[in-house]
């Protein structure tokens, strides 16, 4: 189905995977948007939503791996996966650079996700046609 007014969306996710349905609902919503040929510029992970960016998420085999699903969708459709750095670091989600900065022996931010500031969420709300929040 082709929509006559394609829009530029961003998505904010505040809920962690598995404990909250926010991320999974957002995935369904994102797929529906893309099916109707809307564009998704950015998915921003804030509050407990930052847990979606862990490379170590290991669900049982009969459950879907939410972080992996985001990675696939993002790489197929050029979507930015941005994780709030302040919310992430205090919850133990670090990339290589932050691990070095805080002298940690390992890091766990999944590939395809980027740590950045809250300004990226403000930017999405200013510059996208719609910002849709899940998990508030």
């Amino acid at each position: 189905m082709k929509s006559c007014n394609e829009m530029n969306y961003s998505i904010a996710i505040y809920g962690g995977p598995y404990s909250d349905q926010a991320s999974l609902s957002a995935l369904h919503f994102a797929r529906a948007l893309l099916k109707r040929e809307h564009r998704i510029q950015r998915v921003f992970f804030y509050h407990d939503g930052v847990y979606n960016s862990s490379a170590l998420v290991t669900p049982p085999q009969d459950e879907i791996n939410v972080p992996t699903q985001w990675q696939t969708l993002a790489s197929e459709h050029g979507i930015e996966l941005v994780v709030c750095i302040a919310a992430a670091v205090r919850r133990g989600l670090l990339d290589e650079k932050e691990a070095k900065r805080y002298s940690k022996s390992s890091y766990n931010l999944a590939e395809g996700y980027t740590l950045s500031g809250l300004g990226q969420l403000i930017d999405a709300s200013i510059n996208c046609d719609k910002l849709i929040t899940f998990g508030a």
Binding site: Y46, H47, L118, S125, A136
Partner: protein
């Protein structure tokens, strides 16, 4: 017209919602957005004076609330109904804010292009 409305519905401690909502307000203001804050539901507890979050090893939100004027955030609203439901009155609050009726809430929401709900 104000551009950014942040709605606070959670108490100041117990979860990180309140702190992370204020963080967003301050970042929004730093990005040049005219920010309006609305406290409703249990969010009104964030406005009470004499909080002692250090008793439970938390920072609370009061210090950040005191920084609001530095960010030119002067539009702060509190939901009248949420206060009265909790037996609170505006004179118990630690911050200058305007009481807002249920009827005016809709107008406030409509007058902002970006609304964040915490």
């Amino acid at each position: 017209m104000s551009e950014l409305l942040i709605i606070f519905r959670k108490p100041p401690i117990g979860t990180s919602w309140a702190r992370e909502a204020i963080d967003l307000a301050l970042v929004g203001a730093a990005f040049g957005q005219q920010a309006t804050l609305l406290f409703m539901g249990d969010g009104v507890y964030q406005l009470l004076s004499n909080q002692q979050p250090d008793q439970v090893e938390q920072k609370g939100t009061q210090a950040m609330m005191k920084a609001l004027p530095m960010y030119d955030i002067d539009q702060v609203f509190v939901c009248e109904k949420s206060l009265s439901e909790r037996g609170l009155r505006a004179n118990l609050l630690d911050f200058e804010c305007q009481s807002i009726s249920q009827a005016s809430l809709q107008k406030l929401l409509n007058s902002h292009r970006q609304v964040f709900n915490f």
